[in-house]
Point group: C2
Chain length 243, copies 2
């Protein structure tokens, strides 16, 4: 079972909670189907029914919702190992869309299978709950980021977060990683316009703090970036869960 497409997902869960082998095997044995998506294509659509839950096998995706007349808010960025749309297991309708940012491979698990797992394997249920609790903590930080910080701080903060998360996921190091977002998408994630994102990035680059070429971020001064972005890791709950 070690070759399961769900392995990155389970590995991520285990970074936050210890999972006994009974539960671990049950998660890995979940029925699933791996699908491939091109950049821009949708894994889930807002305001529709979704009868499956998803684990990202490779690539990057984002959650977003459309507001008013076309304005778009990116709510989260997902990378390999992340669980996506766990709420589909229990909620009737989706309240946001999931879109591929790069070439994506995603494993879809029937919602029904997640519901039975949840009922029969408390340890697995706990792991899934912890996952959603941490996602919620990240969402809170994004709310605060957009609500209270300056444009420069918002972008610096996002760059710090993605760096830390990729390092934790073993996809790169915090000061050198891939980030396949256009400046417009970075703007949609931070509540800024693409034009202003461009100017802020130029500022950060000219001050030797961070640069980005071909969708690859290189942080040249990590400490300064965290300072600019008012970044404190605690909200990512790196320590994980209690016994």
């Amino acid at each position: 079972v070690t070759g399961s497409a769900l392995l990155p997902f389970v590995t991520k869960l285990e970074r936050h909670v210890a999972i006994g082998s009974f539960d671990r095997e049950a998660i890995l044995a979940l029925p699933h189907r791996v699908e491939q998506f091109n950049p821009g294509s949708y894994l889930f659509r807002e305001d529709s029914t979704a009868d499956s839950v998803c684990a990202l096998v490779s690539g990057f995706a984002c959650a977003h919702k459309i507001v008013g007349l076309g304005a778009r808010q990116i709510l989260a960025v997902y990378m390999a190992g992340d669980g996506i749309g766990l709420e589909n297991a229990f909620l009737e309708l989706t309240d946001h869309s999931i879109q591929a940012l790069s070439l994506v491979h995603a494993a879809f698990i029937p919602a029904e299978a997640v519901r039975s797992l949840f009922a029969s394997h408390p340890g697995a249920a706990r792991a899934l709950w912890v996952e959603t609790l941490i996602d919620a903590a990240i969402q809170r930080e994004w709310t605060a980021n957009i609500g209270q910080r300056s444009a420069r701080a918002r972008i610096a903060h996002v760059l710090c977060e993605i760096g830390i998360r990729q390092e934790a996921a073993g996809l790169g190091v915090r000061n050198h990683y891939e980030l396949p977002l256009t400046q417009e998408q970075l703007g949609d994630a931070t509540g800024l316009t693409a034009v202003h994102v461009n100017r802020v990035l130029q500022g950060l680059r000219s001050e030797g703090i961070v640069q980005r070429e071909n969708r690859v971020v290189t942080v040249t001064d990590w400490d300064e970036l965290t300072k600019e972005g008012d970044f404190l890791v605690n909200y990512l709950h790196p320590a994980g869960a209690a016994a």
Copy 2:
């Protein structure tokens, strides 16, 4: 057990999921201690350990975090029946504070008791998970609200949400309810300054859409308010959870 302080909480859970009597009784039988808080006092503090979970018995509270040098973002508003800090059951450190907005009675449940309940009563676990999933959906909407909407729309949107939630909780009707937030706190919730909140509220009042006196909101034109606030209820998941 019908007189339990946890009854409003269980009632709220049951609005979203059906709970069998086995699980229902177990939740009501959770050990808890009810405490009283004056407006402004803290139920939980950011960056500290919390070994209990909380159910709001009466009054209003909010979640917030401090950003940078003193700026404050209000992340959520809670009312009677809401669960607060469920993440304390499994996460080591709090990432935000909980503060009373009015006179509050809150029931504190030891984290350990929630963990055993979660392990022994899958139906109760499911109900708690659904609760956090819906809270997360609300948090996403707040992110989008602050990130993409104008000042006027942000405030209109919040007023709609609180109205609907109070009506659902049986605490008032959507167009007439108590909202014990100062204009400054309303600003902290929407990423605006108190001065600007004041001007926006005056605008809404002068157009005969909504008025607020002594912390009581009266919506004189509900349809117009939802239009101004670009408000669509779906994110509150009123239908609840799937079988």
